[in-house]
Symmetry: C2
Subunit: 339 residues, 2 copies
């Protein structure tokens, strides 16, 4: 299938494109043994590859246009020859196994929907984000692709997430939970009450019930489903709260004379942790439900994170995530006959 096919890496997406993206490609090829093609303006990319002495290791596919980080969904329609559009095209034609881009999320989602199209039976593609729980990450979806959803979409998001957890983490029966504002079934709004019924009556899902915001980072479930509005607010709130906690800690330490020594000693442990939170919370965003895997790297991604995103894309493609989702969605149609 897509095994062995290269990753189509959008060289022009991200705050540090193209140099860190090219650096990530070189790392993925040399350190991980992954096949990668770079998509972007050939002259620029050739020079960047030459800096790594890698012009003979990594092929370039031409794309002279690019979506800017502040361009949204509409720009993707106006730029059929953008680097992200060409990367999607390579997957559509069977010449690449998956797409990786650190470009703007809105642009990637719009381009992916347009160029790769949704899988048969999938109502809406969704963004799954890996939260830094232990021992394995919990997947939160939808993290922002769909601000307005129907209960049936939440049921599908559960299947998209379960397929991801199986493929990327080898979890046999992923525990699926529904994000709401009380653990009882009758809590929440109309959307989640109906979604709760659908999830509960799905034999192909291991539904463990409702979870609340404070459960997101405890590893209470492998997959947490929500609408893209709530998911995006929760994700960004989490990001802000972690940053806040570290800032407060720094101030608490600095205001106490006794603990100044402690601050010096802990500095490296703290920095490692902050880095890990940032990388893990956003390194693993995947657009699911299209005819091809699209990994969305963080806009600020440097070479190491880009390389990790290529690994994730390769793992998902090799594990046949698109086919797994297709099977799950087809089975859901047979069970529910809802749409």
């Amino acid at each position: 299938m897509s095994e062995g096919k290269p990753i189509a890496l959008d060289a022009m997406g991200g705050d540090h494109a193209p140099h860190e993206i090219v650096g990530g490609a070189v790392h993925a090829v040399r350190e991980r043994g992954l096949p990668v093609v770079l998509v972007g303006p050939p002259r620029v990319l050739y020079e960047a590859l030459a800096d790594h002495d890698a012009t003979k290791e990594i092929p370039i596919v031409r794309a002279e246009e690019a979506l800017a980080m502040d361009e949204g969904a509409l720009a993707s329609l106006r730029r059929p020859r953008s680097s992200i559009a060409i990367a999607c095209h390579l997957v559509r034609q069977g010449n690449a196994g998956a797409v990786v881009s650190a470009g703007s999320t809105a642009g990637i989602v719009a381009t992916g929907r347009l160029r790769l199209k949704g899988q048969q039976g999938v109502l809406r593609p969704a963004i799954a984000v890996a939260l830094p729980t232990r021992p394995k990450p919990s997947l939160l979806l939808d993290a922002g692709a769909n601000a307005e959803v129907k209960p049936e979409m939440l049921l599908q998001f559960a299947h998209l997430g379960a397929a991801y957890a199986e493929t990327a983490y080898g979890i046999g029966k992923p525990r699926v939970a529904l994000l709401t504002i009380g653990s009882e079934a009758e809590k929440g709004n109309k959307l989640v009450r109906r979604a709760h019924e659908l999830l509960q009556s799905s034999p192909a899902l291991h539904f463990v019930g409702n979870v609340e915001g404070h459960d997101l980072l405890t590893g209470a479930a492998d997959v947490v489903v929500t609408d893209g509005f709530t998911g995006n607010v929760a994700l960004k709130t989490m990001e802000g709260a972690v940053r806040y906690a570290f800032d407060e800690l720094r101030q608490a330490v600095e205001s106490s004379r006794l603990s100044k020594l402690g601050a010096v000693l802990q500095r490296s442990a703290l920095r490692d942790l902050a880095h890990r939170l940032n990388a893990e919370a956003y390194g693993g965003a995947v657009l699911l439900g299209l005819n091809g895997t699209v990994v969305i790297a963080h806009g600020a991604a440097r070479a190491q994170s880009v390389s990790a995103a290529c690994q994730l894309a390769a793992d998902l493609a090799k594990g046949g995530i698109v086919a797994r989702i297709g099977e799950r969605i087809a089975a859901t149609h047979r069970t529910h006959r809802l749409w």
Copy 2:
């Protein structure tokens, strides 16, 4: 008006009722000079007051029933003589200036709506929570009273929150923001796009635009409005993320031999901070929009937090928050003629 009237303190709500609640009443009376009446079973409360040698300082109003912490909205209908119902009744009759309870939020909201009724023109009461930003707290509302809302309610929440910020923090023109998933006006779902229009066209509000989840703890606005579903998820996600950050930090410290000394030194600064986050994030929940002020203390509140909640209730009552809200809502009706 309500100045000088006592606070009606529900002695039977909360994990540590009645002893910590009674302790809080004693603290509020002796250290803060606030008049307080305790509502609950007289014999039990008399004995608890006797432990503090305070039987002559604090009056007791009889209520033999109580709502359990796990009882929700329905129980409040079945218990017209519960301590929280009697406390509301005291305010309704003009015998108390405000209510404080550490009982279950759902029970307090349902009882408050039933016994105090909504203010004229207020579509829905909302819960405002003070977030620990600096220099002054940001108010987030609705934090969970209304899982399903209309855009006009979000506009009203802005006025409820602005009245709170004026009254409790003396902010002249509170900056109001709308919580959504992108800073541009067209981002978000139908609800927030329409609410954005309403907020923008309100001359009586200082609307500063959209904010995202990561802005909640930066003090970007004095009042952040959202629906009760999103608000509750955001608040609990914040709580979970802060706890997660501290847990991760502890582990990072423990795994490094060098930084063990640092951990010892920092222990007290850390504990202080964790305590402050917990107390501040939840000590200031206020149910707004009823004919009377209801402060919801944290269920785990100890005497100090109960006393602080009494202070907040007294400040809001003394500042005439109910009248301020009434004026704002009346003016909104004249401006918008929406309902």
